[in-house]
Structure formats: structure tokens, C-alpha cells
Amino acid sequence: MITAQSQPALSRGVKLRFDQAREAWVLLAPERMFALDQPSTEILKLVDGERTVEAISDDLAARFNAPRDVILADVVTFLEDLRQKGAVRS
């Protein structure tokens, strides 16, 4: 489970990269890919196996001037979904 204290990382074989042709970020994983919108991209850029979910949320709340609780809940939901799909580990 992803919690506020987790230090999420991309699973082995999962890569975040910019897709030139479609001008968007994409998460490439074993035999599938996830198209990312801007908020998801901003979250994943901060996922490095060290930062906690809390720290990621603080960073985003400050930069996008948004309520931290709402951001934290969104980050947890988004990363937990990717964890269940095997793309992120906690």
C-alpha cells in the first residue's frame, strides 16, 4: 500500500520519458504504456525511491499553490493505482 510515508520508486523496467511525436510524457512498462496528463507527469517526475509521498505532495502544493490535503490524497490514489498495475513499488 502507498501511504504518506512511502518512498515510491518506478518498478524495474519502467521508464518515464517524453514522447516527441505526441508532445506528452508517457510511462513505458513491460508490454504496456500509460499516457500521462500534466498532473500525473509532475508527480512521476518526483518519484525517485527517496522522496516520501508527503514530500512529493508538499513540493507540488507549493509549486501549484494548491491545498496540500487534496494533493496528498490525489498522489496516494494515483500511485496506489500504478502500484496495483505493477508499475510503481512502495
Binding site: 518498478s11 524495474r12 523496467g13 521508464k15 520519458r17 514522447d19 516527441q20 511525436a21 505526441r22 508517457v26 513505458l28 513491460p30 508490454e31 504504456m33 502500484r83 496495483q84 498495475k85 505493477g86
Partner: protein, 361 residues
């Protein structure tokens, strides 16, 4: 209007393979080694694919490791930023070969098994000693820190051991497991009577997968492909013709799906003569069944036409004799009786032919 670019390239490097699986989806007429594309051709194809917007390349075959230049091709894919996936039977994957692939930048490996039980696996694959090589290959992949997907094609003759297969996949440390009921193309179609499961077998396999998913959660993700003969609606073959995938045959034919060469009256362009962009954007082969305007009834007016895109053209051809008809799997298709007949003629003691070249290579 220019179509959206493809997301993935299926690079069928060769039809050569040390195994002889009776469900192999390769065509009955296997391509000879002398007809295969050169290393430079493949490198150019990979570069053109990346430029066109392809993000992932799947190296498959046959056995892609039968190509001596596989490492070079993987390295080239990495250099143009393509995510590379190797689809292999593992029987040629020694520790040294793996180290080279890792160094070249392979991102992921899918390792296929014929069964969990050695004797059955080696009878199906037609190669003694294959199972141990695969088990070793799995170990090497894990030791190198690469993510492992294990793949099991299931059918009438091995589906009853699905629990053991799942246990094996877990034991090997797969992050992902693919449990794929056989699709009936190529050799699979030829051997269909021996491979089609009974409805009870299908229902049980589905229940086994569902129970395993609950038990395993995210520790091993199971992808499950059902046999569409038992479904009420066809699969969206290749996510729609010319929408996501481009398949390159060993000899360099660009195909919208790996079985497309069976379709009559369509000429498939060669990557030796045209760029991938030209082929994708404007070749007749890719245009013919793209979208919905080619559809006859009942698809033409169906509310699901942009969900399954009328199903599979190759299946329509194989079972109705006309590639333009609705996929006969569909309950709304007037040809559904072809599926009913196939289900009726499958049986336990049906003979099957191992995959092998019909003419000496």
C-alpha cells in the same frame, strides 16, 4: 487525414526456432533464413519507427535469439530511445548471452513456457532438455535485475495444470505472468481440434486466474487472454487495423497484424522499398481496413464498431472465406455457426502437427 502514429513495432526477426509448438501463430509457410532482412535494414527500420512515433519495440519471431545480430539491434533500439522487449523461448538464453543483451540495453524479457510439467512441456515444444534451459534463463534474468514476464500459452492439453504454472511463475520471481489461451492462427488454426479447450476447462481456468489474482495482488500481475471462440463479442484485434501496431515480417513485409499475409488481394509493402512513414500513412494495405468505412452489415451500423473494430480480419477470412465480413465470433454475425462447428469438432484424441518448415530451409 494523417492517421495517428503507431505506438509499438512488432519486429519478427526470423521464423527460425528450435521449438515446434503446435499452437505457434507463425504462418504455415515459414520464411527461410536467406530471405531475412539484413542487420542494416533492421537498424534503419528501428530508426524510422522511432521517428514516426513508435515507443516500444517487441523483438520476436520465431526465436529472435536465432539472429546473430540481436545484440546489435537491441543496442540500436536503445540508441534511438525505443523501449525494447525481447520475446523468447529462453532455450538459447545463456548467462553470457544475457549479459550482452543487458549491456546493450534490453528493457524487459518475456520468457515463454509450454507447460509446468517437464514431460508435457517438452512433448509440446518438441525439444528435449528445453525446460531446464528455460528455468536457468529465468534465473539469469532475475539475477541480472531485469523484470521477468513469464508467458504460458494454454490449451486443451495443458490447461488443467494452470495452478502448477502459476506456482512456477511465482517461484521464478515473475513480476508479471501472461496466461494466454491459444489464438487460432497459423499452426494454431491447423491444430485447432487438438487445442480448443472445453467450456468447462475454460471456466475453470478463468476461476483459477481470478483466485490467484486475489491471492497475489500486486506481487505478481496476471494478464489473462481468453479464447475468443467462447466469447459473445470478438476481440479488438491489434486494437484496430492500422491504429496502434505495425508488424514487420522476417522478410521485411509491413503488416497490420502478424497473420495479415493470409489475406488475399492485398499487397503488403516492403520496408526494403518504402519508409515506415509512407507505409503507415498511405499504403493501401494499412488503409483498407482502417477505421469503419470498409464495414459491411452488421458492423456498419453497430454501436460497438469503434469498440472492437469489427473484430479480426484474418479470422473472418479463415472461417468465412471473406476478410470483409464481421468476425464470426460475434453473436451478431451471420457466420457464428462456423465457430459453433469448430467447438463441436475439437476433441481429446485429435492429432496435431508440430510446427516445422514444410520445405527444407
Amino acid at each position: 487525414m494523417t492517421p495517428a502514429p503507431p505506438l509499438a513495432l512488432l519486429a519478427e526477426l526470423t521464423h527460425r526456432c528450435p521449438l515446434k509448438c503446435p499452437y505457434c501463430s507463425n504462418p504455415l509457410e515459414l520464411e527461410r533464413a536467406s530471405a531475412e532482412l539484413s542487420t542494416d535494414d533492421w537498424k534503419r527500420v528501428l530508426s524510422e519507427a522511432a521517428e514516426l512515433g513508435v515507443l516500444q519495440v517487441h523483438f520476436s519471431g520465431g526465436e529472435p535469439m536465432a539472429r546473430r545480430d540481436l545484440v546489435q539491434l537491441v543496442r540500436h533500439a536503445a540508441s534511438v530511445d525505443l523501449y525494447s522487449n525481447l520475446i523468447t523461448s529462453g532455450v538459447m538464453l545463456t548467462e553470457a548471452a544475457l549479459a550482452e543483451l543487458v549491456e546493450a540495453g534490453v528493457d524487459h524479457i518475456q520468457l515463454s513456457f509450454q507447460d509446468a510439467e517437464v514431460e508435457s512441456a517438452e512433448r509440446l515444444g518438441g525439444l528435449r532438455g528445453a525446460q531446464q534451459k528455460k528455468l536457468d534463463a529465468a534465473r539469469f534474468i532475475r539475477a541480472a535485475g531485469l523484470p521477468l514476464t513469464t508467458n504460458f500459452v494454454i490449451h486443451r492439453q495443458n490447461v488443467d495444470r494452470l495452478e502448477q504454472m502459476i506456482a512456477l511463475a511465482e517461484q521464478l520471481g515473475s513480476a508479471r505472468m501472461e496466461v494466454a489461451h491459444t489464438q487460432y492462427y497459423g499452426w494454431g488454426l491447423l491444430n485447432r481440434d487438438a487445442l480448443l479447450p472445453t467450456r468447462e476447462q475454460l471456466e475453470r481456468s478463468t476461476a483459477v486466474v481470478e483466485a490467484a489474482r486475489v491471492r497475489l495482488g500486486a506481487s505478481m500481475v496476471i494478464d489473462y487472454v481468453v479464447p475468443d471462440y467462447y466469447a459473445a463479442r470478438p476481440k479488438a484485434c491489434m486494437s484496430g487495423w492500422g491504429r496502434r501496431f505495425m508488424n514487420i515480417s522476417p522478410a521485411g513485409k509491413a503488416l497490420p497484424c502478424h497473420a495479415a499475409e493470409t489475406l488475399p488481394n492485398l499487397t503488403f509493402p516492403s520496408v526494403r522499398e518504402q519508409s515506415l512513414r509512407q507505409i503507415w500513412n498511405s499504403s493501401e494495405a494499412f488503409e483498407t481496413f482502417r477505421g469503419t468505412s470498409w464495414m459491411p452489415d452488421p458492423c456498419r451500423t453497430c454501436d460497438l464498431r469503434e469498440v472492437d473494430w469489427g473484430g479480426c480480419r484474418c479470422q473472418a477470412l479463415a472461417l468465412t472465406g471473406d476478410a470483409r465480413r464481421a468476425d464470426p465470433v460475434c453473436e451478431r454475425s451471420p457466420d457464428r455457426h462456423a465457430i459453433t462447428a469448430a467447438l463441436g469438432s475439437a476433441r481429446d484424441n485429435a492429432a496435431w502437427a508440430p510446427r516445422q518448415p514444410r520445405t527444407p530451409a
